[in-house]
Symmetry: C2
Subunit: 240 residues, 2 copies
Amino acid sequence: MILDGKKLADKILSNLRISQLKLAVILVGDNPSSKLYVSKKKQACEKYGIEFELFKFDSNINQEDLEKKIKSIDATGIVIQLPLPNNIDTERILNLISANKDVEGFVSDNKSPIVCVVEEFLKEYDISLDNKKILVVGKGRLVGNPIAKWLESKGLDYTIVDQSTKDISQELLKADVIISGAGKKNLIQNIKNKAVVIDFGPDVNFEKVKDKASYITPPVGGTGPMTIACLLKNLSELKN
Amino acid sequence: MILDGKKLADKILSNLRISQLKLAVILVGDNPSSKLYVSKKKQACEKYGIEFELFKFDSNINQEDLEKKIKSIDATGIVIQLPLPNNIDTERILNLISANKDVEGFVSDNKSPIVCVVEEFLKEYDISLDNKKILVVGKGRLVGNPIAKWLESKGLDYTIVDQSTKDISQELLKADVIISGAGKKNLIQNIKNKAVVIDFGPDVNFEKVKDKASYITPPVGGTGPMTIACLLKNLSELKN
């Protein structure tokens, strides 16, 4: 039997996936924050030689057309930039993404970039969560939900609050660690002394709480670049 | 303390090393085989988006100048294309390559691409070396030496022959597995029935032995593309 070196070499090389990465981003409508996030992703891809393609749709696109377009996308990783317009069934759209392209961990067991950001910060700055009162602010799909799942998987107790919580200021004053992603500016104006604050919101009034915090993410150069880095890390680790 | 997301993001992204790979090849003199091997490496790098730079020197370059040039090379992986001219101290030149750039495993514990090729073939075709008579043909730096070391590390018995061996044809007829890298055309004209033949030489007269072999690498599309694939695999796995 002939040992086929050509075929096996191609297999090995395609597994290296060097510079074969391609991120596709689906943007529907004109949300200014979404456009900003998309441009940041594009910049990072360009910087690191990753192919980037933006699929931009009008907010009045219908469900069927959007689904058809998404199914036809050829990329190694796909981001559906949220939020989608109200006329679109977000759950159905997200479920079109197969696990091997799910860089955001929405529809698979892939790690959420947000969880990765928190883990990396804790590791880098040698911050432990053991025996800390942990507060998660917001229950959204992007931040609160994956962080809560992650804390559960680590067997850590935590409190989670959202807009239905009557008085979150009481919880904020008790928390040793605050992980926030409510998307509500100036929601957090006071914290416990020496608290650790990781803000994806941006929810924190940085100037008001920065001197009380032992560790805090700044509004610029904090969770933003880290979220992009973790997204690209996920992209590079997908097994396509 | 400010959690510096910019700095940590850069650290994470630089560890991804996507499309930041660069292979530098040092070629001294006009050896036609060396030129061919270099062009194959260049082609593969271009195909997979890896930066490639060739440093070509006349065969009359002196040791000092060559060392100075090599020390100034900025790349993530370096190949010294062997053989070097006789007036050059090969050992000294190879030792200029630091472990984190040693894609060929000459001066570090990095795995030799040749060993990788053999491992990948054995794995792909489900060939076991257990209780086989293994013959290594050639004691060179590129093939025989790393293969012998690898077999030792796996606790496998083997016989190794080179030009000083009186009658290698006897050994060839006894071997269940032949791994050959003597660089002597038509050295191997007969083998044991059902032997496995992996030829880096090219030493094997393929037409004469192909029907007796159970598995055999062809002269084209055999170990050649595999060696390049394993070299690039090494390059992508170096921690720069």
